[in-house]
């Protein structure tokens, strides 16, 4: 067997050393594109996932979100929950929120929106809301009768043309808000928030106390408690610790929430991704097979000669496996250079989505390893199959029939 390997490697080496370099370059170039095709789209989808999940974390759900258990509308005694949560090791910040459905009216234009009641000073540590005010100011601790309107419903942001909006609402404008319980309030617009994300820009914010007053809530009720952790990646452990601390409400990590909320979108993209990978693999496998098969056919006579002079069929088959692996390794290497160059380019020049959302493809090292292993496995199969088939032919047929 050792002799078979030695001779197989030597035949492959001579073939590369004195083979046509232009053909080699072309094969490597095509293989590098196949490799790129395998890894690039998943990287883009990964970038989109990171962007969307990042938004989930920065706005509605934090790293961990606690919601009412069972059919309850509110978390009762949210302050007690907050106290327990803040005492848990690994929790950086937490706050409570109250969401309510409402319609907002301005100069006879009416839009429906979710209005979130929040504690403005606590939001600086929990979300990005305070940092995305494009006009005016964020709410203060004592803000009353004031509202922050999302840019899409204000009619000023990107996407306004798609959705119903209030028509150029500006800071200082007065809007009438009718809550789901029929209570009507007039608020002065304090600021416009623009997060380039529908869950943000189609909503509005008021002080937590406003919602409490409107719905007559007592004993610190909340529709959610939003938690941020010290260390990204520790969400599951912190979630368990919160549970152990005696919080009996429903507890979700951002990943749990992402799964349900953007699962569908990601599933669709995942399906595209899977199809793309499958097609790439089939095309890649076919191409490697064709390349090696043509190579083998062109060398059918040589294979016959090698057999005739006593080179074992195993050596011959191994030589093609080595040759094929060599082509594919070079293709992978070139593909990696191309891939990392593109990754670098897109980090500097991200793909702009929705005019303001910047998608930077994510490098998934596991995917790279998987793709490399897949390509190499394919190369061995693609090298062995045709060579094995020809090496099984009779010597005379291999030498004298084309």
């Amino acid at each position: 067997m050792i002799n078979d390997i030695r001779v197989g490697a030597l035949i492959a080496y001579f073939s590369v050393k004195r083979g046509n370099k232009k053909t080699l370059m072309f094969i490597v170039f095509v293989l590098s594109l196949i490799f790129m095709n395998l890894v690039f789209l998943p990287s883009m989808i990964g970038g989109m996932t990171v962007l969307f999940t990042g938004m989930m974390q920065d706005y509605p759900y934090g790293d961990i979100v606690i919601e009412p258990s069972g059919d309850n509308t509110y978390i009762n005694n949210a302050d007690s929950v907050l106290q327990k949560v803040r005492a848990v090791e690994g929790v950086r910040a937490a706050t409570k929120r109250l969401d309510a459905g409402a319609s907002i009216e301005h100069k006879q234009k009416v839009v429906g929106a979710t209005i979130t009641g929040l504690l403005p000073t606590e939001e600086y540590d929990v979300s990005q809301y305070p940092y995305i005010i494009s006009e005016g100011d964020f709410l203060g601790e004592l803000s009353r009768d004031e509202i922050i309107i999302g840019a899409m419903i204000a009619g000023t942001g990107f996407g306004s043309e798609i959705y119903d909006n209030l028509g150029e609402v500006r800071p200082g404008s007065l809007v009438d808000v009718t809550y789901s319980n029929g209570v009507k309030r007039t608020y002065k617009v304090k600021g416009i928030m623009e997060g380039s994300f529908e869950l943000v820009d189609l909503n509005a914010l008021v002080n937590y106390k406003e919602i409490e007053d409107v719905y007559g809530l007592e004993e610190s009720k909340a529709t959610s408690v939003v938690v941020r952790v010290d260390k990204q990646g520790s969400e599951d452990q912190v979630k368990d610790k919160i549970r152990e601390a005696g919080v009996n409400e429903q507890i979700f990590t951002w990943a749990d929430k992402s799964e349900t909320l953007i699962k569908q979108a990601m599933q669709s993209m995942g399906a595209i991704d899977t199809m793309s990978k499958f097609v790439s693999l089939i095309v890649g496998a076919a191409l490697v097979l064709i390349i090696i098969y043509i190579n083998v056919l062109n060398r059918k006579k040589e294979i016959g000669i090698l057999k005739a002079v006593g080179i074992t069929p195993r050596s011959i088959v191994l030589s093609y496996a080595f040759l094929s692996t060599f082509y594919v390794s070079l293709g992978i290497f070139a593909g990696l250079i191309l891939y990392f160059s593109l990754m670098f380019y897109f980090q500097v020049n991200p793909v702009v989505f929705y005019e303001t959302m910047e998608i930077r493809p994510q490098i998934d090292y596991m995917l790279l390893i998987e793709s490399i292993v897949t390509m190499l496995t394919l190369s061995v199969i693609a090298g062995i199959l045709p060579a094995w088939s020809v090496s099984k032919e009779s010597i005379l047929k291999a030498i004298w029939s084309r």
Partner: protein, 228 residues
């Protein structure tokens, strides 16, 4: 050394079968230089291919040094081709991507010898055919005669029991043919190499000890040219 008894080779079956060899028998002694002659289609090349284990006989016995080789399994036939039998093809059959030395030494590598040892064996073989100085040339950089001498070096490097040559001068001019035949003669006379050569050139028989003639798949004459 070689004993052939009632060897037959048919292509196809039934009425339409082509009978390339119709049952030939002969013996070749160690150290003989034998020419097999005959017109095209007489069965001489078919015989040589069977003797060199490149093809199978339909019927009959074929032994080399008492070993029945015609029924060996492929792995053993491959080993036999590698170690016991040398074959020189009409069209040289060199690997174009290997230099003269590489074409020769790859067989020693296959036998398990080191690369250095194999290279030395290759140079020795190339020296015997007068091509040591051109060991680094690839086939495209060699003349037809030189290519054939490399093919001979490849065949003799492993010091085979028998050297088979299938019309080795068919593609060569007279001068190159003489060079090749001189090499065969020297191998035969100096090293006692058994050689079986297919040819249709009458003047080639000046170099051999014995001429076996075929006609229409039958052995029609077996003539000694000189005694050894």
């Amino acid at each position: 050394m070689i004993l052939v008894k009632n060897l037959k080779r048919y292509y196809g079956t039934g009425e339409t079968a082509v009978k390339a060899l119709k049952g030939v028998s002969f013996e070749i002694k160690k150290g003989e230089f034998v020419a097999i002659m005959g017109a095209s289609g007489s069965g001489k090349t078919t015989l040589l291919r069977i003797l060199a284990l490149l093809d199978d006989a339909t019927e009959g016995e074929y032994t080399i040094r008492g070993l029945e080789v015609s029924s060996l399994p492929e792995a053993e036939r491959s080993y036999y081709r590698l170690t016991q039998v040398g074959y020189v093809f009409q069209d040289y059959a060199l690997i174009n991507e290997m230099s003269a030395a590489e074409n020769v030494y790859i067989l020693s590598m296959m036998e398990g010898k080191s690369r250095k040892e194999s290279y030395e064996i290759a140079l020795e073989a190339l020296d015997k055919v007068g091509l040591k100085e051109k060991h680094n040339r690839i086939p495209d950089e060699l003349s037809g005669g030189e290519k054939q001498r490399v093919a001979i070096a490849r065949a003799i490097a492993k010091k085979p029991d028998i050297l088979f040559a299938d019309e080795p001068c068919a593609n060569l001019d007279t001068n190159n043919s003489k060079q090749v035949l001189d090499v065969f003669k020297e191998l035969n006379e100096k090293y006692g190499q058994t050689i079986v050569m297919v040819t249709h050139e009458l003047w080639h028989t000046e170099y051999v000890d014995r001429v076996i003639t075929f006609e229409d798949g039958n052995l029609v004459s077996d003539e000694k040219k000189r005694n050894r």
